[in-house]
Every structure is written in structure tokens, then in C-alpha cells.
């Protein structure tokens, strides 16, 4: 079977390629060039910098597989970066990795892979896929085996046809096992540190990126308390996220947190810690990986952001690909723009964007 591996130059996708080679597949490494690396001298912290492309190439050479870099600058700009900027400007807190997975890796890259005669696209995600039990039965997406690395949250938009062609060769491993395999396989990236930042945000300066694209957002506005009194000023709503305390420059006896962002009014609302608690939310553009729950509503555990424990909840599908989620216990800092992802044990049922 010819398999394309999306190679970022990191250890996870490198080991994904290694495992497929060892399994005897015809493996083709593809890396995505996502922005003009020759532009300026900005340093990029995440994946896909020139150094990372170089690492991907070296890894492919070590594995003896062909490797190509494909240009996805245009698609990355429209599917990821512009959405990211628009969301921040609208006072929301986006997760660009979801679009990068769903709209780039498992859309454009999958398409290109098919054009090259490849049946599957593999990535280095910590997630597992269980193939359909029979014809007509759905494929399942499951959490990665390593709870500290699980990336299933970022894959909730995948459809059955995408899952049918996806492979996650490291999903059942923990990070230490992945590094050990990389060392044993002599891969040059075995000890490369994990990427921490968003690849397209130089120096982690999100506000700077948003302002460069949307200068109009960088205007001061009021910070109000729960009763609507102005108690301070902010420098632009794109600098804040719900639950944030830093950067408010308020001197109050109790610590205050952003509880709501109103981009239309250019205003922040703040309140004490317990004002962040919510027991319900609604979500849009909900994707049910194996169809909506039978019976209209179901018990799930729901996760409202990456690295946040999921919590028991009841989820009720609403018309127009929406859903209502009611948690058993209040959840702290539900941020519009983040994803809410529903699980049944290890299985990802689906998810949507928090309104």
C-alpha cells in the first residue's frame, strides 16, 4: 500500500513514517510549506520552519523514502491564518490546529496524496482510529493512548471519509516510546524538543500578528464590572480571552478575570473567579463522527479546551448542526471560539465550536 506521511520534521511524524516503513508499506513523505520562509528573519517556534523542513528531509533520507515539500501557503492563509485573525478580532479564542488538521492535512493534503496514488495519509497525531467492524459500520476516532499527549481534541472535525483514509501510527504509543523508537531507528530528530507555539505566530506574539493584519482592533475600550460600571481600560479585545487575569491592570482587592468579551462594543466584562463558572453552553458547526446520538440526547464527557479534564454532561443536538451541552458540575472559563469535544470513554463522538 502506498502511504503518504505528513512530515513536520518533528519526532512524532518521523516515527509515524518509520513504523510504516517497518510495516512494509511504500511510504512517501510530504511536508507542507505553509508560509514564505524566506520572508524576513522572524523566528518560528512551531513546526514547518525551514529547519523543520530540513529535518523532515533528513529523516526521509535516513528512512530511504522519497520526500517532497508541497506549497500550501495559499490554503494555509485562507483556512487557518485568516480565520485565526478574524476570530481574535471578533473577541473569540480560536484553535488554529483544528483547521490545520481538518482543512489542510485531511483535506488538501489528502487530495494531493490521492492524486499521487496513495491510499492513506498518516500523521504523527496522538490519536487512534478503529477501522469499521464491517461494511456500512463507521470508523471510530479514539484518544491517544498517552493521556498527557492525547490530541484527539484537535481532530473532532474529521468525517467518516477522512477517517477512512487516515492513519495514526503513533497513537497507541506514549511519548517516551516514540522517542525510544526514534533513537533505535537512528532518526536524526530523536531528541528534538516538542514544538510549543503556533507555527505561524513569530515569538508567540499573537496580539502582534492580529494587529498587523487587522490594525483596527488595537483600539482602547472599557473594562466593566458585572454591573456595567467602567473600572478600567483595555488596549484591544484581541489581547484577551475568557478566564484571563493577566494584563488587565486593575487594582482591586479580589482578583478579577475576563468573563465576557464584546467585540461589537469593544468592551470587556470582568468578575471574580466564581463568575467564570458555567453549567451550560451551545456549540455550532457540530460534527458527529459516527452520526448524532440515537434518541436525540446522550450522556457524554465533554472537554472545553485542550489539557482540561473532560466532565460529565448531557448533550442534546439542535437543528442546524448545533448542540446544547449541560454539565453536571459548573465548568470554569468556557471560552467562545474554543471547541467542545464529546467523548464516550476513549471514543470521540464529535464536537463543535463554543458560541
Amino acid at each position: 500500500m502506498r502511504v503518504v506521511v505528513a512530515m513536520s520534521g518533528g519526532v512524532d511524524s518521523s516515527v509515524a513514517a518509520l513504523r510504516l516503513v517497518e510495516a512494509g508499506h511504500e511510504v512517501v513523505g510530504l511536508s507542507m510549506q505553509l508560509y514564505d520562509q524566506q520572508q524576513g528573519t522572524a523566528r518560528f517556534g512551531g513546526c514547518c520552519s525551514l529547519d523543520d523542513l530540513h529535518d523532515a528531509r533528513r529523516t526521509a533520507a535516513a528512512l530511504g523514502i522519497p520526500h517532497y515539500t508541497m506549497n500550501f501557503e495559499r490554503q494555509f492563509e485562507s483556512a487557518v491564518v485568516s480565520v485565526f485573525v478574524r476570530e481574535y478580532a471578533a473577541g473569540r479564542t480560536p484553535i488554529p490546529c483544528v483547521q490545520c488538521n481538518g482543512d489542510l492535512k485531511f483535506a488538501h493534503l489528502l487530495e494531493r496524496a490521492a492524486a499521487l496514488g496513495a491510499d492513506r495519509v498518516a500523521t504523527g497525531h496522538y490519536a487512534r482510529r478503529t477501522a469499521a467492524s464491517g461494511p456500512g459500520a463507521p470508523h471510530a476516532l479514539r484518544r491517544g493512548a498517552d493521556p498527557s499527549k492525547d490530541q484527539s481534541y484537535f481532530l473532532f472535525t474529521l468525517t467518516q471519509s477522512q477517517l477512512a483514509r487516515a492513519l495514526f501510527p503513533v497513537g497507541h504509543l506514549c511519548k517516551e516510546e516514540v522517542r525510544a523508537l526514534a533513537r533505535r531507528g537512528g532518526l536524526p530528530v530523536a531528541d528534538k524538543p516538542d514544538s510549543q507555539e503556533l507555527c505561524f505566530v513569530p515569538d508567540g506574539d499573537t496580539a502582534g500578528l492580529v494587529e498587523a493584519r487587522e490594525p483596527a482592533v488595537a483600539r482602547p475600550g472599557p473594562i466593566r464590572d458585572r454591573r456595567g460600571r467602567e473600572i478600567g481600560r483595555h488596549d484591544g479585545v484581541h489581547r484577551y480571552t475568557v478566564g484571563q487575569r493577566r494584563g488587565l491592570r486593575l487594582s482591586t482587592s479580589v482578583p478579577l478575570y475576563v468573563t465576557a468579551i464584546d467585540a461589537a462594543e469593544n468592551a470587556l466584562t470582568v468578575g471574580p473567579r466564581d463568575a467564570l463558572d458555567r453549567t451550560r453552553l451551545t456549540a455550532s458547526s457540530v460534527n458527529w463522527i459516527a452520526g448524532p446520538p440515537p434518541g436525540g440526547a446522550g450522556r457524554v464527557t465533554a472537554r472545553i479546551r485542550h489539557r482540561h479534564p473532560d466532565a460529565p454532561a448531557r448533550v442534546e443536538p439542535l437543528p442546524g448542526d448545533r448542540a446544547r451541552v449541560v454539565f453536571d458540575e459548573p465548568q470554569r472559563a468556557v471560552a467562545p471560539g474554543q471547541a467542545v469535544v464529546f467523548y464516550d470513554g476513549d471514543t470521540v463522538l464529535g464536537g463543535g465550536w463554543i458560541d
Binding site: V28, Q33, Y68, M70, N71, H108, E111, A115, G117
Partner: protein
């Protein structure tokens, strides 16, 4: 899988006789050509022989040849060297064709400003810098006109002699980048009427790392590498003797073959082109309407992303290119095709096939046989993507 190499404009395989000469020099002639002793003299002799061969190849005198590391350095030396030498006389304008190689274009860009001005002359839809377009760009303060002899991406031959006559009429020095023409068509510096000519050994079956700049006697030019007095003070640094010996051997090989072989390559190119045009619908030759070197064919495949086609062909063992190798990786639509007035789409749908030493009719036929299936598959998917929302 047997592989087929159709990217001879990027670089060429080293001819066996050239490899032997290079290896012999590497092994046996280690002296420094500037040394007085017997070792040095031996090296100097080898250097002189290579110089004579290169000079003969282009109808020049040996003393007019400066060895460099290759085409990019030759172009840099020509442009920067003349620009500096001419600045004192008040000539501050540099003129070049819009489809020059990046080694010319980016060098000009680096020199722009500081009361120096740059003018790029556009090409017509056939990919040719015409003399009348060039005439409009000339001025009495033009220091240098640089127009390539043959284009690397589409192979079109530029009217260099005509341009040189015009430019000389305005007192400008004329340079031609002949990196893509030497070995493919006869190159004679007197016939071209230019003052400077760049060539590169690895484009005609020589080793990488050796090229030359021909400088007509009497042309004013400032050295860009300073240090020792090698190359008549025009290029400091101990010569890369093994590669230069290889360059000389590659030149001799062409001289002895008397251009023989280029007709065969042209016949293969025509066979490939005819086969593709007949076998794959929605194809067109870029630059086909003008005189071209015999080995190059740049073809657009309507609705097919060249990047994917290149990779699909490589997975079949067929090596082609989407344009200049130096700018691949960025995959901007080819500036050459854009300059010819093609849409970004057509520019992104274009593949360069360049043939040379070792290619056979059987190889050409295999390429012609596998292309329709690959193109169909790519088009089917592109169509599906478009149907799914115009991506």
C-alpha cells in the same frame, strides 16, 4: 525501477571522459598553479590547457577567459564588475531582460538604489526580449545591458547580436548569460558581438564548481574577489583545478564532437513534445513559437498542478522540473511564464522537460506512455476538489 533523467537544464551527468580527466587531475595534479616549482608548473599547464579549450569552444582568446565557480559567480562578476567600473564615468543605469536567471535579477536588485537605476525589459508572448523593446530602455548613461542567450525554463533564444549592436550604439557594455546555450547551440563570442559571456561547466556534462566569464580584451571591470593575483587580477583565490580541468575536458568533448549529438537530442525532444501533445489533451508548448534550444520543452497541462505532476512523475522514476531549480521549493508561478503574459494558473500548470546526454527514444516513449494516466488522475481529483467548493 529504472530512472529517466529529463532535467538537463538543472544539471547534467558528467561525461565519462570528463570524469576521467577530473579524477586524474584530482589524484595527480595537486600543485598550486601559482607556485614556481615543478608541481606548480604542472598545475599551471593543466590550467592553461583548460583555458585554451574553453576559449576555443566560444571563439575567444585564452587570455580573455576568467575561471569562476560557475554561472552565478560569472554573472555576479560581470554585472558588479562593470557597474563599479562604469560608475566613475557617470554611467549608472543597468538594463536586463525580465526573464533572466535569478543570478542576474537578484544581483541587479542588490545594486539598485544609491543613484543607480535598473530597467528590466519585458518579453513578448513568445518569450523573446525584442530589440525594439530593448531600445526603449536604453539611455546614454546605461553602463551595462545583460540579456541571456537561451532561457533556462523555456529554451527560447534571444536576439543577442541585435541587442548588442543597439546597446553598443549607446556606449553600453553588453553581457550575455550563455549558461543554457553552451553545448546546445553554437556559441561564438565574436558573432554575438557581446563584451562578456558567462558559462558553466555542469550544464554541459562537466563537473559542478567550475565556470567561466569571457571578458573581451579592453573591457573595464573591477574584480569582486580580491586577494592573490590569479586570473590576471580578476578573480583571486587558488583555482579549483580538478573542476576546471573537467570544464576544459567538457569543452574539448564538445569541440571534438563538433556539435554532434545536439541534433539527436533535438529529435528526441520533438518526439517527446509531439507524443505529449497528441496523447494528453489540454496541453500546449510554452515558448514554442520562437527559436529554441533543441533540448528544452516547457509544456502546460491545463488543470493540473505542476507540483503534483512533478512528484507523481518522480514516483514513476521520471525526473522533470517546474522551472528553474534554484527557485523550486518556493513554487511561485514561474516569473518567466508570467513575464510572457500567461495567467498564474497556466504558469502553475507548466512542466519543463530538458533532455541531454544518455536519453533514448525508449525513455521518451515511456514518458509519453505514462503521462496520460497520471494527468487523468490529477485532473479527476482537481475536478472533485473544485466541485467540493472551488478549492
Amino acid at each position: 525501477m529504472t530512472r529517466i533523467y529529463l532535467d538537463h537544464n538543472a544539471t547534467t551527468p558528467v561525461a565519462p571522459s570528463v570524469a576521467d580527466a577530473t579524477a586524474r587531475a584530482l589524484r595527480d595534479v595537486f600543485g598550486n598553479p601559482s607556485s614556481v616549482h615543478a608541481y606548480g608548473q604542472e598545475a599551471k599547464t593543466a590550467l592553461d590547457e583548460a583555458r585554451s579549450a574553453v576559449a576555443r569552444l566560444i571563439g575567444a582568446e585564452p587570455a580573455e577567459i576568467v575561471f569562476t565557480s560557475g554561472g552565478s559567480e560569472s554573472n555576479n562578476l560581470a554585472i558588479r564588475g562593470v557597474a563599479e567600473a562604469a560608475a566613475g564615468g557617470g554611467r549608472r543605469r543597468l538594463v536586463a531582460g525580465a526573464i533572466e536567471h535569478e543570478a542576474v535579477l537578484r544581483t541587479l536588485k542588490a545594486l539598485d538604489g544609491n543613484d543607480r537605476s535598473i530597467a528590466l525589459v519585458g518579453v513578448d508572448e513568445r518569450g523573446v526580449v525584442t530589440a525594439d523593446r530593448l531600445a526603449d530602455a536604453l539611455s546614454d548613461d546605461t553602463a551595462l545591458v545583460s540579456v541571456m542567450h537561451a532561457n533556462n525554463e523555456i529554451g527560447t533564444i534571444q536576439p543577442v547580436a541585435e541587442i548588442a549592436a543597439l546597446a553598443h550604439g549607446r556606449g553600453a557594455v553588453v553581457h550575455t548569460d550563455a549558461v543554457q546555450s553552451v553545448g546546445k547551440i553554437p556559441v561564438d563570442v565574436r558573432g554575438l558581438g557581446v563584451d562578456l559571456l558567462s558559462l558553466s561547466g555542469h550544464k554541459f556534462n562537466g563537473p559542478k564548481g567550475a565556470g567561466a566569464l569571457w571578458i573581451r580584451r579592453g573591457t573595464r571591470l573591477h574584480a569582486q574577489l580580491t586577494g592573490g593575483r590569479q586570473e590576471r587580477n580578476r578573480r583571486a583565490g587558488t583555482e579549483n583545478l580538478p573542476a576546471i580541468v573537467g570544464l576544459g575536458a567538457a569543452a574539448r568533448r564538445l569541440l571534438e564532437g563538433g556539435g554532434q549529438g545536439t541534433d539527436e537530442v533535438a529529435a528526441l525532444r520533438d518526439r517527446l513534445e509531439a507524443g505529449i501533445l497528441a496523447g494528453v489533451p489540454g496541453t500546449a508548448v510554452n515558448g514554442g513559437g520562437s527559436p529554441r534550444v533543441g533540448n528544452t520543452s516547457n509544456i502546460s497541462f491545463h488543470g493540473v498542478e505542476a507540483e503534483s505532476l512533478l512528484i507523481a512523475l518522480d514516483l514513476e522514476g521520471i525526473a522533470v522540473s517546474t522551472g528553474s531549480a534554484c527557485s523550486s521549493g518556493t513554487l511561485e508561478p514561474s516569473p518567466v511564464l508570467r513575464a510572457m503574459g500567461f495567467s498564474p494558473h497556466r504558469a502553475q500548470n507548466s512542466i519543463r522537460f530538458s533532455l541531454g546526454l544518455g536519453n533514448t527514444a525508449g525513455e521518451v516513449d515511456r514518458v509519453v506512455a505514462v503521462l496520460p494516466g497520471i494527468v487523468d488522475r490529477l485532473r479527476a481529483l482537481a475536478g472533485r476538489g473544485a466541485a467540493a467548493g472551488g478549492r
